[in-house]
């Protein structure tokens, strides 16, 4: 099953490689990883998407917690949560396809953020599955590049991951 693990980690050099190294050393699957500082500059927030049986996910969270730099973590899959990913897609356009792409972008609530005579860049956020649907919906031959941030997430309600 797919799990989104959200981690508060010391904002120190090497902290990211401790997490990445743990996954490769123990043979855990890592689908995506995003990391950025938080409002407290001494802490980074890391969001990691992984897949595995319940036993493996249990080991992953235990092993992550064992890293000295990891302050706290939650498995977002354990509770109701919101998931968002940012995507930018550069698409080859012709006079005939421009309107169709604009229409598609509008349906998915995307924005055109760069225009040249032959290309569009479409920006879109949403759960990963929505971004997948957009990609599937346009002609694959017209895609020049796709840039995705990897999902981040937050739990709903008053509960939160903080010190």
């Amino acid at each position: 099953m797919r799990h989104i693990i959200s981690i508060l980690i010391e904002n120190e050099s090497g902290a990211l490689s401790r997490v990445a190294g743990l996954f490769s050393a123990r043979g855990y699957n890592i689908e995506s990883l995003t990391v950025a500082p938080t409002e407290d500059p001494s802490l980074s927030r890391m969001t990691l998407v992984t897949r595995g049986s319940d036993d493996i996910i249990e080991q992953i969270t235990k092993q992550l917690n064992k890293l000295i730099d990891v302050v706290k973590l939650i498995d977002l899959a354990d509770s109701v949560h919101i998931e968002r990913e940012l995507m930018m897609v550069k698409i080859k356009t012709t006079e005939h396809t421009r309107e169709e792409i604009r229409g598609m972008a509008a349906i998915f609530r995307g924005k055109i953020i760069d225009v040249t005579p032959t290309t569009y860049v479409v920006e879109m956020t949403g759960p990963s599955s929505k971004l997948d649907a957009f990609i599937a919906g346009i002609d694959g031959g017209t895609i020049i590049e796709v840039v995705r941030s990897g999902p981040t997430g937050i739990s709903r309600g008053e509960k939160g991951l903080h010190l």
Binding site: K62, Q63, K66
Partner: protein, 578 residues
């Protein structure tokens, strides 16, 4: 007080109460060695290879319970230390390794003797630090000791760039009495509800067994374990790492379990209905085939490391905490409880265990005209009155030492269990002897293992650490040969060394006493003579039966009940070898 970085390192070690540093100098640590030269409080032991430094510090740590301290230079000094760091990591041994690093401004430029020590050691340390600011140096060293010695212990590396130890830069020095790390709070006592549940389960058990490991030694909980076992009357088995945590001569002890464990220990595990695992981690050498591991048992597991719980074997009642306080908590509840273990059930269970015991799985051919390695260990036990510190290398000799030297006290049996590092025994023995100069220290080794760190014989002379080296010489990497006999139709691929040094001359060249023993009747007098030489290191090169195998054995991929016992003739099935 204002000190430079080099002085801060040495003063911090002194304030931490460090007695010995095991190390080897080099370019990146020259400032540090100059600071060592100018003081006498912290004694430096100069080894002959950095691997030896880590194993000696490790032996010191295992024997004393105090952290071992290592100092190595950058580059090859650091990489040579990695095997010893990994050895300590696998067995949860507290150790602080200070490694020199090239000056901060040239880090990343492939400078002379530069290696990314923090990167290389990351998977085999509990934590590591790269010091970037001399004003944080003392605090970082304190943190290193704090992390290394608390919770589940382990090695911690502090990588110190050369400019940080610059004698020209002085900063105020204060060694913190205490440090806290917001992201590191290991559990001490166990959850009361879980402990209560565990006791309830234990008191209803019909065929219980206590399976205890190295955590009991590390957690200084031998006394509590013994009291716990005596209160309940349950059988006790120890892992290789746990030997000595429960007195081996006690009648409730059924021997070591696992791949080369006793028949009674493994059968009792297999048939038991309730197992309490105490400071043990269900290692593959203990469990054998996981699907067939203890099929009838409900398992209680006490461990300070939550990640050890349900890692390979799912347990019914996990208890996270230090072994000693948790056992104390349990004992209190057991004493207050009106319910007692069923006498009738225990009597039946012990009758069954006695039947398994009567198989006498550790018997061997005592009439042989060749020296049997088991006999040597038994004689070693008698000559040292069972009270020596025994270090070992890795292989058959290690298993025989574990099987035939019953340890009654913790911290007496010192071996590389997790990583299985050949070359461990000799330097470890030096570390032990430094810690306990008045105790007997013997290194049980083999002709292959001893050659992996033999250069430390020179260190043993320099620091006058008279140890006894019991070399069970069968001209083979015995354990490799045994596996090749069992699993590869006796194709002994490169497990035999055609040339082995004359160990007697080699020992003499290093300034020690060498003895060669090739008849069974010479073993006892030679051991007595060796141990009578109180101030000399003696190398006993004992030529043993080359065909001897370690029994019982659970071959890889088999369950506890599927043991290979000794064949009737008592030796290897491969007669050609003889």
């Amino acid at each position: 007080m204002e000190l430079n970085g080099a002085q801060i390192v040495i003063q911090s070690l002194k304030d931490e109460g460090v007695e010995y540093i095991f190390g080897y100098p080099g370019g990146a640590v020259l400032h540090l060695y100059d600071a060592i030269f100018q003081q006498d409080d912290v004694k430096h032991i100069l080894v002959r290879h950095e691997q030896g430094a880590t194993h000696a510090a490790d032996g010191y740590a295992r024997a004393t319970g105090k952290p071992g301290v290592v100092l190595v230079t950058s580059g090859p000094g650091a990489t040579n230390a990695v095997t010893g760091i990994a050895t300590a990591y696998m067995d949860s041994i507290p150790m602080v390794i200070i490694s020199g690093q090239v000056p901060s401004p040239v880090i990343g430029s492939d400078a002379f003797q530069e290696v990314d020590m923090v990167g290389i050691t990351r998977p085999c340390v509990k934590h590591n630090f790269l010091v970037k600011d001399v004003t944080k140096l003392a605090e970082t060293i304190k943190k290193a000791f704090y992390v290394a010695t608390t919770g589940r212990p382990g090695p911690v590396v502090v990588d110190v760039p050369k400019d940080i130890t610059d004698p020209g830069i002085k900063v105020p020095y204060k060694y913190p009495k205490k440090v806290s790390i917001r992201s590191y709070n290991p559990a001490v006592t166990g959850h009361k509800g879980q402990i209560k549940k565990a006791v309830d389960l234990l008191l209803t058990a019909q065929k219980p067994i206590i399976y205890s490991g190295g955590g009991v030694v590390l957690g200084e909980a031998s006394k509590e374990l013994t009291e716990f076992a005596h209160t309940l009357g349950f059988p006790v088995t120890n892992t290789l790492m746990g030997l000595g945590a429960y007195p081996a001569t006690d009648k409730q002890f059924v021997g070591m379990l696992g791949m080369h464990g006793t028949y009674e220990a493994n059968m009792a595990m297999h048939e038991s209905d309730v197992i309490i695992a105490i400071g043990a981690r269900f290692d593959d050498r203990v469990t054998g085939k996981l699907d067939e591991f203890c099929p009838h048992a409900q398992i209680i597991h006490i461990d300070v490391d939550p990640a050890s719980i349900s890692k390979t074997v799912k347990v019914a009642i996990p208890i996270v905490g230090e072994v000693k306080p948790v056992l104390e908590q349990m004992l209190e509840i057991i004493r207050e409880n009106k319910k007692k273990p069923s006498k009738k059930a225990l009597e039946n269970w012990w009758n069954q265990i006695e039947q398994w015991r009567s198989v006498k799985c550790l018997e061997y051919d005592r009439e042989s005209r060749l020296i049997k390695p088991q006999y040597v260990i038994e004689q070693l036990y008698e000559v040292t009155k069972g009270d020596a510190y025994i270090t070992s290398d890795v292989g058959q000799h290690q298993m025989w030492a574990a099987q035939y030297y019953p340890f009654d006290k913790p911290r007496r049996w010192i071996n590389s269990g997790g990583l299985g590092t050949m070359g461990f025994g000799l330097p470890a023995a030096i570390g032990v002897k430094l810690a306990f100069p008045d105790s007997e220290v013997a290194c049980v080794t083999g002709d292959a293992s001893i050659q992996m760190c033999i250069q430390e014989l020179s260190t043993a002379l320099q620091y006058k650490t008279p140890i006894k080296i019991i070399n069970l010489n069968n001209s083979y990497m015995g354990m490799v040969r045994q596996w090749q006999e069992f699993s590869y139709e006796s194709r002994y691929s490169h497990s035999y060394m055609d040339t082995i040094p004359e160990f007697v001359k080699l020992a003499e060249a290093y300034g020690h006493v060498g003895m060669r023993i090739d008849k069974p009747e010479e073993v006892r007098p030679a051991l007595e003579e060796a141990f009578a030489m109180k101030d000399r290191t003696v190398f006993l090169d004992i030529l043993t039966d080359r065909t001897e195998n370690v029994y019982p054995m659970i071959e890889a991929g088999k369950g506890h009940h599927d043991m290979t016992l000794r064949v009737a003739s008592g030796t290897s099935t491969d007669r050609e070898l003889a």
